[in-house]
């Protein structure tokens, strides 16, 4: 639905330069070589049904592409920029006339932050700590727009929040220890 709306809007004011100016990532997808979804983030509203369909269509489009081909796929009037890292495909969907090359850089920035956080990240890290990957993505993108260009800042913010969680956990366990001891 939103796709059609977006299309209508774009076609009605396509010569309008201003509409081109909005870079917006519609969604971020991560899937493996086998087409297994590892991360999805939707910045435009898609129903659960549409999401499944989008994922199926895109993995079908992207997975067969050879390594030498360009990293852009035209799909439903949008462009999907993808980049492969080992067994994982990182995809971002943007408007027809957005800057694809910049999206490639954003994907790389995300991967670098992940790499720094997990220490040479691999697919398994993203499977078992998928929520961490989401936290990192949320520090990088909001509303489909880039919020931070510094890897260091992102890493620092994530670390600060992780330590908050750790502190809370310790506190909780110490409290429960006290309770356990008190009820002995």
């Amino acid at each position: 639905m939103s796709i059609f709306l977006a299309k209508v809007r774009r076609s009605s004011d396509s010569p309008d330069l201003l509409s081109q100016a909005a870079t917006m990532i519609h969604f971020v997808l991560l899937f493996s070589r086998q087409g297994k979804v590892r991360l999805t983030k939707w910045y435009s509203p898609y129903s659960q049904k549409e999401r499944t369909k989008v994922i199926r269509e895109l993995s079908g489009l992207i997975l067969p592409r050879g390594p030498k081909l360009c990293h852009f796929v035209e799909w439903r009037g949008f462009k999907v920029v993808y980049r492969r890292y080992a067994s994982l495909y990182f995809c971002m969907c943007i408007n027809q006339d957005d800057n694809e090359l910049e999206i490639l850089e954003i994907i790389h920035l995300f991967v670098e932050v992940l790499d720094r956080y997990f220490g040479s990240v691999c697919e398994l890290d993203l499977i078992f700590n998928f929520h961490k990957a989401y936290y990192i993505l949320d520090e990088l993108l909001i509303a489909g727009e880039l919020q931070e260009s510094s890897k260091k800042t992102v890493a620092r913010l994530i670390a600060a929040q992780d330590s908050l969680v750790e502190a809370a956990k310790e506190q909780e366990s110490s409290i429960s220890n006290i309770i356990v001891q008190a009820t002995k």
Binding site: I127, I142, L146
Partner: protein, 922 residues
């Protein structure tokens, strides 16, 4: 403790799911986990809530339903601790979207968190709000977000900026509140804030014209300065990407400048220098640099004209195009497409490279390149480009052939200057990728072939050769079948040889072979098979020697399960068997198809087609003078003009029936056309799906008789003598076919509104009808019949009678005299008024035949004066009027009975019915 709540750990669940070998196993594990989580939800279990939510998110990612977990997110968000909130917000963003009502319940928690003392909790709330907020939430929480744009920590400010973008997109009215705080963000040094602030300003400009004006006045210089700073900044490890400091910031600054400079000469002037610097100094070895150049070129193309900068930009694109990296080439093609409007000449210079890209192995690049190339074609390069593209068609991948074929056809139609070139190219395309060619393309080809009278022989021979090698291409086969049917004898006799041709020997039976193979080929569809049958019918007359064989082939389809084929087969068989004498005139060559009419029709009937094909249709290859009106109407001389008369709504049934006036017919047939909107004129001409082709051959038959009065049957009926009645009575359908001969030459006296018609003319009697309509009464038509006696005897006691179907009312005025002087010395006139009681309602198609008035007179009848079919062609629909004029002559008295038998447009079926009813009447 609840037995479920302990459950498994998240890690264990993921492991269990990963260990599943089949989808069914995975479903079982997920079902078990979901059940446990549901139970925990029911129990309102606090301890494991956040673990359960994490599991749900994983399950959700696998595509299983998780709606029962939505409330859990809200509960976690409402709890006080940071870890709970963190996972709660994550779940909220993953499991819900803006369209769910549940989301409204979180507004209050969000509001509290936006005011929280912990900046990380504020960050979480901003992030969630930015990603999924709805219009209502945006309204409720906009003041908080606006306030947070001035928050002390830059990391909150940047989140608030992006959150504001979402808010103003959802509720554009709020934009003005954000203009001032957004402008303040542009002064920041923190890259994250600057980045997001620029983005917010860009989006504000998009929404509000005032914001754009404001930023243009206040911020242009500072943005230019910011760009200068970042371009000239020393190495900054934190932001460095392949030697460039923060390309993301570069890009956003350039993008914002594009908005500011567009349509404003002063602002554009202000940024010229820095744009030139970026365009020349940026390192283009790495992707990051190219991304900046991309943005810079876009900006240069969009701001007010500066020729120096434009040259720089086009040169950058040229470099991109020759890059070995596919990504860069793709981007270059994309941008050259936009640059075409700015500087087409510069883009033309890269034509050869673009052509190479069409042949690339990468589908994305091919598609872009083809579209770009299509825009670059002009008169001077069309031949070489078409040649290259057609050559490539042979080797291209299947999926690409459709696109490529459509574009080649479009180019060929649009730019062809000579018919032979057009026909040659189209034949090549059809041979290579005929299955990808759209219907209107090969229809257009047939129209062109039909108009190129000097190329008929050449074309049919080329098609014959092509079909031998590429018989599997459906549309090639169709065109070939049509041409062989029309010009079969040119194929066998090698008439009209061009110098460039190699002579070939084709026998009559070879030509029939081609059609037979096409008819029986398993891939042939109904259209092709129907066309084959028509072609066979035509060949049966062109090649009398093969007639028996053709009959056998035709008969094989007599039992076809497809009604259309069955009907054609039976009808054609009947014609071959029983109507030897009229067959040749029946299957005359099609009159030249009118290009203007066809292209108009094509443009009209296909309003949704891509503009290129419309443009192409109008541009059909020229060279032959085009008849102005539809040719059949012209030849029958029933219409003086093809422009619809203003009184078309007040048209009368009978006029239409007689096909006297084109305007009512066109209004009528317009309706019919609308119903069968899918069909266009050529389909009708070719008789695909509907039988009008037959009628077209009938009309040509009439034409041929009227042009050439030596046809035996024409002579037979030219005088009212007794032996006619026997022959006519023996085969009424034949009479219908060939008895009536309106002489175009004699009927050329056109009234201003309705031309008159010679209803009957023989050696002794001429009957002419004049038509008029009383003003203000569209239902009524006055027909004035004028009778002239050409024989040497005076006719006395003249009586004229007429009968009409029941829904018409007929009023006969007395004749001006009952004596008809001899040797055309005078005439009798008699007025008839025909009133259509169901004017506008009664469909012409359904008007049934009535043979009233003839049964009692039958015995007295001394001759059938004329039984005929008036055919009238308009808007691709043929209407036929069957009428009989009975002529009695005894003892010097003359009695003429006109019987209007009905009008139809699907002549085939109607004719059969006529036959039946006539025999019943006997």
């Amino acid at each position: 403790m609840n037995p479920f709540s302990s459950g498994t750990r998240l890690r264990d669940m993921i492991r269990a799911i990963r260990a599943c070998k089949t989808a069914a196993e995975e479903r079982a594990v997920v079902r078990k986990e979901s059940a446990a989580i549901r139970a925990a939800v029911g129990e309102n279990d606090n301890d494991y809530r956040h673990r359960n939510l994490a599991k749900l998110m994983f399950i959700h990612m696998l595509g299983y339903p998780t709606h029962f977990g939505q409330m859990e997110c809200l509960k976690l968000i409402a709890s006080s601790g940071f870890p709970e909130k963190r996972i709660g917000y994550l779940g909220l963003m993953l499991l819900l979207d803006e369209r769910q009502e549940v989301l409204m319940l979180v507004t209050n928690s969000l509001k509290q968190d936006l005011n929280h003392s912990n900046q990380y909790i504020v960050g979480l709330a901003l992030c969630a709000l930015g990603n999924i907020c709805s219009a209502e939430m945006a309204r409720d929480l906009a003041p908080e977000v606006e306030r947070l744009l001035q928050f002390r920590d830059p990391n909150v400010r940047k989140k608030a900026a992006l959150c504001s973008i979402r808010i103003i997109k959802k509720v554009p009215d709020l934009a003005e509140n954000f203009v001032n705080p957004a402008a303040a963000l542009l002064k920041e040094k923190h890259h994250g804030v600057l980045l997001t602030g620029l983005q917010l300003c860009t989006d504000l400009c998009k929404i509000s014209e005032e914001a754009l004006e404001y930023f243009r006045k206040k911020c242009t210089e500072s943005v230019v300065k910011a760009l200068k700073d970042v371009v000239n900044s020393p190495y900054a490890p934190e932001y460095d990407i392949s030697g460039i400091t923060d390309p993301f910031l570069h890009i956003r600054l350039l993008r914002f400048l594009r908005i500011l400079g567009h349509g404003d000469a002063d602002a554009s002037d202000c940024m010229n220098d820095i744009l030139a610097q970026v365009a020349t100094k940026t390192e283009s070895n790495k992707n990051a640099g190219n991304a900046i150049l991309y943005e810079c070129v876009e900006t240069i193309m969009s701001i007010e004209d500066n020729s120096g900068l434009r040259v720089l930009a086009i040169n950058i694109l040229g470099r991109f195009l020759s890059n070995r990296d596919n990504n860069i080439r793709y981007v270059a093609l994309n941008m050259l497409m936009r640059a075409i409007t700015v500087d087409a000449q510069a883009v033309q210079r890269h034509r050869a490279t673009i052509l190479e890209c069409v042949k690339d192995s990468d589908a994305s690049i091919r598609k872009r390149a083809l579209e770009l190339l299509y825009l670059l074609v002009n008169e001077s390069n069309v031949k070489s480009l078409t040649k290259e593209l057609i050559e490539h068609l042979e080797v291209s991948e299947q999926e690409f052939k459709g696109d490529l074929t459509a574009k080649i056809c479009s180019i060929v139609e649009k730019f062809s200057t000579e018919k032979i070139w057009y026909i040659d190219q189209m034949l090549k395309v059809l041979s290579e990728a005929g299955n990808f060619v759209k219907d209107d393309v090969w229809h257009a080809l047939i129209v062109v072939i039909s108009n190129a009278s000097n190329l008929h022989g050449y074309t049919v021979r080329s098609l014959y050769k092509a079909v031998q090698t590429s018989g599997e291409q459906e549309s090639l086969v169709r065109v070939a079948v049509w041409c062989i049917g029309e010009y079969g004898e040119m194929l066998v006799n090698s008439t009209g040889m061009l110098d460039i041709e190699e002579p070939i020997t084709v026998t009559e039976s070879d030509a029939v072979d081609v059609i037979e193979i096409a008819l029986k080929h398993h891939t042939s569809d109904l259209t092709t098979q129907a066309m084959c049958l028509i072609a066979l019918l035509k060949l049966s007359s062109r090649f009398p020697a093969c007639s028996q064989r053709i009959k056998e082939i035709v008969v094989q389809n007599k039992g076809s399960l497809v009604l259309e084929l069955q009907q054609r087969s039976i009808e054609f068989n009947y014609i071959i068997e029983k109507h030897q004498n009229i067959r040749s005139s029946l299957v005359e060559r099609m009159p030249v198809l009118d290009e203007a009419t066809y292209s108009g029709k094509r443009a009209g009937s296909l309003p949704a087609t891509i503009p290129t094909s419309n443009g192409a249709a109008i541009n059909l290859p020229n060279g032959v003078a085009k008849p102005t009106a539809a040719p059949l109407v012209d030849l029958l001389d029933l219409s003086s003009d093809d422009a619809p008369a203003p009184s078309s709504s007040g048209s009368d049934f009978l006029h239409d029936l007689l096909g006297v006036d084109l305007s009512p017919a066109s209004s009528q047939s317009g309706n019919i056309q609308a119903q069968k909107s899918g069909t266009d004129v050529l389909l009708d001409l070719l008789s695909i799906g509907t039988p009008p082709a037959q009628s077209s051959s009938f009309s040509s038959d009439i034409l041929s008789i009227s042009q050439d009065n030596k046809t035996s049957s024409g002579n037979l009926l030219s005088s009212p003598s007794p032996q006619i009645s026997s022959s006519a009575g023996g085969s009424p359908i034949m009479d219908l076919l060939d008895g009536f001969a309106p002489n175009p030459a004699s009927s050329e006296v056109n009234g201003p509104a309705y031309p008159s018609v010679v209803a009957f003319e023989s050696g002794s009697l001429k009957i002419e009808f004049n038509f008029s309509k009383p003003p203000g009464n569209p239902q009524t038509t006055t027909i004035q019949a004028t009778f002239t006696n050409k024989s040497p005897n005076t006719f006395t006691d003249f009586i004229f009678q007429a009968a009409v179907p029941k829904f018409l009312q007929l009023h006969l005025d007395p004749a001006s005299s009952n004596t008809l002087p001899e040797s055309a010395n005078g005439s009798i006139t008699q007025d008839m008024r025909v009133t259509n009681s169901q004017h506008g309602k009664k469909s012409l198609d359904k008007s049934t035949i009535s043979l009233v008035g003839c049964d009692t007179e039958c015995s007295m009848m001394s001759g059938v004066a004329a039984v005929g079919t008036l055919s009238h062609w308009s808007n691709g629909i043929s209407r036929m009027l069957h009428f009989a004029a009975f002529f009695l002559q005894f003892e010097g008295a003359v009695l003429v009975i006109m019987i209007i038998m009905g009008c139809n447009r699907s002549s085939g079926k109607q004719l059969a019915r006529n036959e039946v009813e006539t025999s019943n009447a006997k």
